[in-house]
Amino acid sequence: MKDFQKHIILSTDKLTIGYSSKKQQSIIASNININLYKGELIGLIGANGIGKSTLLRTLTNVQKPLQGSIQINAKNLNEYQSIDLAKVLSLVLTEAMPSKNLTVFELVALGRQPYTNWVGSLTKEDIEKVNEALKLTNLENLKYKNCFELSDGQLQKAMIARALAQDTDLIILDEPTTHLDMYHKAYILKLLQKLAQETKKTILFSSHEIDLAIQLCDTIIVMTNENVITDNPSNLISNGTFNKLFPKDLIVFDDKTKKFRVIK
């Protein structure tokens, strides 16, 4: 990939995130400058409570930035109408669905809502997009199963398919691998890599699977107490960034195996 071909999907400029009430502001992280390019798989890692969720909530317009700006497709995030934002940004969240009595097809088809008419009728094109999303995530044989019949891994795939059907340039996933076993963690992240490459969508996910992220991501955003660093995995390793992630009393990052190990 040559630089001049790279098309920026999301960028932040001197972004400060946190919470503000009438009395005071509590800043979680500041001076965040991120550029996410088309077709990239980006991992967001950091210790518990460092502000990964706050960053994702800010990037997805759930909460307002304290300072700085976010641009998606060169347009400021707060200039988007919610329906237009739904056409460029789709989400996969950690929360459980209140109702699992939908078929996989119906669930994925809900991703077409920003495009459908007032009662939500699916056009031929909508059905094609849904089937395409099911095919990309290998869910075709589960199409008419109800969601409560699915395993956690299959359900997560269905949620990803729903985001795909929403047909957006950017997909943001909040900890998509929690509750999954080792195989399915790798499976989901590998699937995300494949989707980024094949569909040229930009996929950003937060995760605690640092070793998998190192192996699969094009770019990793590392959140530490001091700053937010964005780079490719090999640069991050050679700069020793991963060692700043956690307190050093228990685990260290081993450059050779690209994994954390417990200090003996």
Binding site: T60, V62, S82, I83, D84, L85, A86, K87, L89, S90, L91, L93, E95, A96, M97, P98, S99, N101, L102, T103, E106, L107, L110, G111, Q113, P114, T116, W118, V119, G120, Y144, N146, Q166
Partner: protein
């Protein structure tokens, strides 16, 4: 898609059942009228006896239509509330609509002694009860909506609705304490619910408001479906949560509010019909659920009314009791048989 074919078949069967129930409902009553004369009087041909025609056209037909509006309207508003609050225990009255209506009626009936005996006779007419019930539910509704516009969390609205119910129930208790036995009886009779009191004029008013409620419900199908994913997902799909929530609440209030005003607080239907429908249709898709709930609600209400009428006798049992007596065992049986609650 085989699903669609079975649904079309279920809908045709249900429509036929509805028509049969409708005919059964109007052919039963304290006076037995031959089936042929019933058909004749519906299409306007002269019947064997003039009184038969009068009974059917001015009593049984409006009652059957009321049953259809009440059953379907309460069922649909129950469905809206269950989806909005993501709570299988929600019903059309969780927002305090029926308690608001009860308060209005209690003030008129029980509080009439406070207004003085001169007014009492004037006050307790059928229309004054309808107006009092509407005003009561409207007031509670306005308060709940004012609160809901300020509140982010939908669950908080549910709790606030329950609190309003408690407040109104308490006021009704105080009023009952001071009311006379006669007034209490009158109030209790209103609480039994009644389908047979509506004239064609009243029925047409009920029907017009009902239609507004139904139109709003239909326009909410899309947002209801996205709410199945939870509010955050719904928002990420471009849904304006506050606006959709408001439309859903208004639809419910129009339906449940006017029905309560005209037919009294009929409890069970709104909670049970959506569950019955989900168990049988096995889906959460509102495009299927909404018309299915309409049909089931109307059918169940017609059946309950036929039973409450106690065929060939002069008794009319309270419809509010019959809906629970007939409906509750059906829902229990369905849940036990399927061993799984579908929501």
């Amino acid at each position: 898609m085989s699903n669609q074919i079975t649904h079309t078949r279920s809908f045709s069967i249900l429509t036929i059942v509805l028509i049969i129930c409708f005919i059964i409902n109007i052919s039963l009553g304290s006076v037995s009228i031959p089936l042929k004369d019933i058909f004749n009087s519906i299409i306007g041909i002269e019947t064997g006896q003039e009184t038969w025609q009068y009974i059917i056209q001015n009593y049984r037909l409006p009652k059957a239509f009321t049953a259809i509006l009440v059953g379907s309207g309460l069922g649909i508003s129950g469905l809206l509330m269950q989806t909005l609050f993501r709570n299988p225990l929600a019903g059309p009255f969780v927002l305090g609509i029926s308690s608001g209506a009860s308060l209005g009626v209690a003030l008129i009936i029980l509080g009439s002694s406070f207004f003085g005996s001169v007014f009492a006779v004037l006050l307790i007419s059928k229309w004054s009860i309808v107006i009092a019930a509407s005003l009561g539910s409207f007031l509670v509704l306005i308060s709940v909506m004012a609160v809901s516009l300020k509140i982010r969390d939908t669950m908080a609205i549910l709790i606030i609705g329950l609190m309003f119910s408690s407040i109104t129930a308490a006021i009704v208790s105080v009023l009952s304490y001071f009311g006379s036995a006669e007034q209490l009886q009158q109030y209790i009779f209103w609480g039994f619910g009644s389908l047979g009191n509506l004239s064609w004029n009243e029925l047409s008013i009920l029907f017009i408001i009902y239609c507004f409620g139904i139109i709003l419900s239909i326009s909410s199908i899309k947002s209801l479906n996205s709410l199945l994913l939870g509010e955050n997902y719904a928002k990420s799909l471009g849904l304006n949560i506050k606006k959709s929530r408001l439309i859903i609440i208004i639809a419910t209030s129009l339906l449940a509010g006017t029905i309560t005003a005209f037919a009294g607080p009929i409890a069970f239907i709104g909670l049970a019909i959506p569950h019955l429908t989900r168990q049988i249709f096995n889906t959460s898709n509102h495009k299927i659920l909404l018309p299915a709930v309409f049909l089931f609600g109307a059918i169940v209400m017609l059946i309950c009314d036929s039973i409450a009428q106690v065929p060939n006798s002069d008794y009319t049992l309270p419809i509010n009791a019959i809906t629970s007596l007939v409906g509750a065992p059906v829902v229990i049986w369905l849940l036990v048989r399927k061993r799984k609650m579908i929501f």
